[in-house]
Structures are given as structure tokens and as C-alpha cells.
Amino acid sequence: MIRFIAWRLLAGAGVLWGAATLTFLVLHFTPGDPAEAVVGGEGAAPTPEVLAQITAEYGLDRPWYEQYAGHLWRIVRGDFGTSYRLHTPVTQAIGEQAWATMELALAAAVTGLVLAVAVALATAGRRRWIRGLAAGAELLVASTPAFWLGIVLLTVFSFGLRLLPATGSHGLASLVLPALALALPIAGVLGHVLREALEEVLDEPFIVSARSRGLADTTVRVRHALRHALLPLVTMSGYWVGALLGGAVITETLFTRQGIGRLLVAAVNAKDLPVVLGVVLLSALVYVLVNLVVDLLYRVVDPRLKEAA
């Protein structure tokens, strides 16, 4: 077990390095002068001196491998540098935004999973019209863009009923709508996959066998079938972690929440390499850790895997 975790963490470090390298290469070799980007935008009129200063200060005139090594070495030493665009340390820039995103992603993950599991459990293997209804609802939310869902939620609950605030990231009330907007499409996809899996499991002889012992239907579903059906969800962890972090950008923009999604978009547009590197490393780290946890969970859900490793 310890060896497994250690090996995974080592591989995780490799993933971080790969992601950082990819980020650097991409930002470096795509067109556009970062110096322009830093002070760019409509309404800006940087003087040549300002551009020269930026180029010199950020070492943008050095060969790419030197810059690459520089960034890497800096990060290895634990120094994430200073944002080109915000003129603040990257750790601070990300630190200000990270919690809001985490909060949102966690809330959405929990909501999405609970919804998906609840709906799938309640409807799998039921009458055709119930299944059809549930499947339709799932596909509806899964095929509705998060921003549109968000707008609809806003229009109904904020602007119409005035039940919940439309904006900001303070407190629970302001988390409800964004979390829902982010969670629903994910719940749709997960619920769909889960229900298909559940229906397959509910046909298995061991379910009949469990029923023949006099267990209540709910008990059979929760205690026996659910565990099997969860396996594909676990395999899809990559998908939903990505969907959460990716969807966060849209949701953050729409609900005017803080978050690293928006920070990332702004940073990419401004070629703000230190910030992009920071965000990528953070999200890669989250991915690596989530994956590790998920793999450990996998072993809890499916004990057959324990000895295989």
C-alpha cells in the first residue's frame, strides 16, 4: 500500500513536470509577444520604453531553453514567481482565487454525485416511462450548456423569485446556484452512465439471490447493486474532475464569482506565464491527488483489485 502510494506520487511528480513543460512550450511557441500582451488590450498605448522594460525584466529576450530552465528551477525551489499582468506574486494571485473554485467544485461534485446516484437508484429498472422520464431529464441537463443553465437558474431563482443572490462568493446562499449550474450537467452524464450500469447489475443472478433472502428492494439496490454500478463512475474520474474544473470558468464568469478559472483565462490571454504555470500545476496536482484517492477508493469498492497490485 505504502509502496503503491509512493509510486503514484512519483508518477504524479512526472505528470506535474510534463504539464508544466507543455504549458511552457505552448505559451512560448504560440504567436504573440508577451510584452505586448502584458500591457495590451484596447485602450492601451504602451511606449517603446515600457515594452523594452518588460522584455528585459522578464527575460523574454533569452533563448527559450534558458527561460524554460529558469522557470523550472524557480518552481522546483518553491518560488512561483510574480505575475506579469497583476504584478503580484503568483502564490498570492492564485491563493486569492483558489478557495472559491475549490468550494464551488466540491459543492458541485457532491451535489452532482448525490443527484446522479439518487436519481439512478430511484429509477433504474423501473417502469419504462419512469426510466424514459429520468433519461430524458438527464440528457436535457447534460446537453444544456452550463452558462445557459446558469442564466435560467438566475432568471428563475434570483431575478424572478428573488430567493437567492445572483452574484458574489460569500456564504452558502451565493454558492447554491453556481454549484447547481455546474453540478447538473455533470449529474446528467454520470446519472446516465450510472443507470445503465445499475440496470445491467440488477439483472445479475446475485441480485436475485439477494432478493431471495428477503431483503427490501432499497437494501438490494443500495447495498448490492450500487457498489458495482459505481465502478464505471470511478473509471470516469478523469472526466468529471476535468468537467468540474473546466466548467468552473463558465460558472465563475456568469455568477461573477472569484475563481482560478477566470484567472487562468485572463492569464492565458495575457501570456502571463508564471500565473498559467501556477494554475496548471495546481490543477494537475489536484488531478493527481484526486486520482490517487479515487484509485484507493476503487480498491475499497472493488476489493478484488487489492491482491492484483
Partner: protein, 270 residues
């Protein structure tokens, strides 16, 4: 085998209409999707414009009809890219030796760890905006996920007795992979792929939301939806109909896909 229910027929009909719209849009709408009329902006549904007009006075129905091709390309194209490349990589990882497997899986880990949005931005930064690149961006972003899934499946299928039985029969290895491993490994992934068509369409509209999707004035459902959000308080029809088009497409694809899958497995469809 049970006869297909009305739901399936409906879904097939919707797909047929979609194909028609993609191939010969002029048969479904007589209006020009690009015909701007500054005097007729954001008009509600009427006889002249059955689904209303947009902010430039264009006919929403015509734009939905003419947008079908691009939208379907976005949905199916992206998933096709993800499936083909993800499938091949996953298969290679599942069948290859440890080195191959490790290289591919670590690369796909990097791909998955790399924010999907950034990946899309990257493709668009490198290749520029536009539908083709949006397809590419979303497709590429989905490759690692599918690769992982296919690999997991391949490993399971590879160990199955029927693959061993095929080997025992004396079939050439290539043929076993092509005829037995590949189809069985990809099968469960197809469940995800049918719904993936929808998520890809949605991802395309998210790109439009960020201004990276299909460039105007070309009609495309996702970008229509994205623009419509600005006018939701004045023109519900502008957002609702393209949204309905997306949802209807996804539901139909899923229903038909499911029926095909069940049939290929020898199970009856719902």
C-alpha cells in the same frame, strides 16, 4: 426480440430530419440564414418567422436549420476524433508491453491533468478560431479520457476467455485484436460517446461563450445560444429553440445508439 417502441421511431425521425437539414437545408427553410434586417430585430415567432428573429433580424428557424451541419460536425466530429485517437492509444496501451503502456498512460495523465479549457485554448491559439479548430480542440481535449477508458476495457477484454479461445483456435494475433478485442473494448465506451456528442456540442457553445467558437455570421447552435443569453429577458425564443435543437439531437442520438448497441449484443431494445 421486441418491436421498437414509438420513442425509437421518433428518435430515428429526428435524426433523419437532422441529416436532411445538414445535407439540404434549403428544403427545410426557405429563408436565408444570413439575411440581416435591421428593422426586424428580436421579433417573436410569427407567420413570417416561425421561430422569431435574432438580434440582427435574421430568421431563427433558418439559422437553426442551416446551423445543423456545423453543429453536428462539432458534436460528432469532436467525439469521432476523441474516439479514434483515444481508442487507438487506449488499445495500444492495453495491448502493448509495460513501456508502451506506461508512456501512453503517463501522457494521457498529463493530458487529463492539463485543464481541458487550456487545451482548447491552446489548439485555438495555435490553429486559430473557427469551427474546424473548435472540433479539433474539443476532440483533442477528450482523447486522454477515452484512451483511459479504452485501455481499462482492453485489459479486461484481453484477459477474457473468448479472446484466449480465439488465440487457441490459431487465429493470427492481428485478427484477434481487430475482430475481437477492439470491438468489445470499444463497446462500453460507446455509451459514453453517444452522450459525448451532446457534451461536445455543449463544449462548443462554451467556447462560443468565451468567444472561441464558430465565427459569425455562420450559424451554429452553440454560438446562437451563447449570444441569446444577452437577450433572454426580451427574446425567450432566441435561446429556447437552439437549446431544444441540441437537446433533441442528444436524446435522439442516445436513444438510437442505445438501441443499436443492445441489438448488437443480442439484447432487446427498450
Amino acid at each position: 426480440m421486441k418491436r421498437p417502441g414509438p420513442g425509437l421511431w421518433l428518435a430515428v425521425a429526428v435524426l433523419a430530419v437532422l441529416v436532411l437539414a445538414a445535407v439540404a437545408p434549403h428544403l427545410l427553410s426557405a429563408q436565408d440564414p444570413l439575411a440581416v434586417d435591421s428593422a426586424q430585430t428580436l421579433r417573436p415567432p410569427s407567420a413570417a418567422h416561425p421561430l422569431g428573429t435574432d438580434e440582427n433580424g435574421r430568421d431563427v428557424l433558418a439559422r437553426i436549420v442551416y446551423g445543423t451541419r456545423t453543429s453536428l460536425l462539432l458534436g460528432f466530429g469532436a467525439i469521432a476524433i476523441a474516439l479514434v485517437f483515444g481508442g487507438l492509444l487506449g488499445l495500444a496501451a492495453g495491448l502493448g508491453n509495460r513501456v508502451v503502456e506506461n508512456v501512453i498512460m503517463r501522457l494521457s495523465d498529463i493530458g487529463l491533468a492539463f485543464p481541458e479549457l487550456l487545451l482548447a485554448l491552446v489548439v485555438i491559439t495555435v490553429a486559430g478560431g473557427g469551427t474546424a479548430n473548435a472540433v479539433l480542440a474539443i476532440g483533442v481535449a477528450n482523447i486522454p479520457g477515452y484512451a483511459r477508458l479504452v485501455r481499462a476495457q482492453t485489459l479486461a477484454v484481453r484477459r477474457s476467455s473468448y479472446v484466449e479461445a480465439a488465440h487457441a483456435l490459431g487465429l493470427p494475433g492481428r485478427r484477434v485484436i481487430l475482430r475481437h478485442v477492439l470491438p468489445n473494448a470499444v463497446k462500453p465506451v460507446l455509451v459514453l460517446a453517444t452522450i459525448g456528442v451532446g457534451t461536445a456540442l455543449v463544449a462548443g457553445s462554451a467556447l462560443s461563450f468565451l468567444g472561441l467558437g464558430t465565427p459569425p455570421p455562420e450559424p451554429e447552435w452553440g454560438s446562437m445560444l451563447s449570444t441569446a443569453r444577452n437577450f433572454i429577458s426580451r427574446a425567450w425564443w432566441y435561446g429556447v429553440f437552439p437549446g431544444a435543437a441540441i437537446t433533441l439531437t442528444v436524446i435522439s442520438v442516445t436513444v438510437v445508439g442505445r438501441a443499436l448497441r443492445l441489438r448488437s449484443e443480442g439484447r432487446t431494445s427498450w
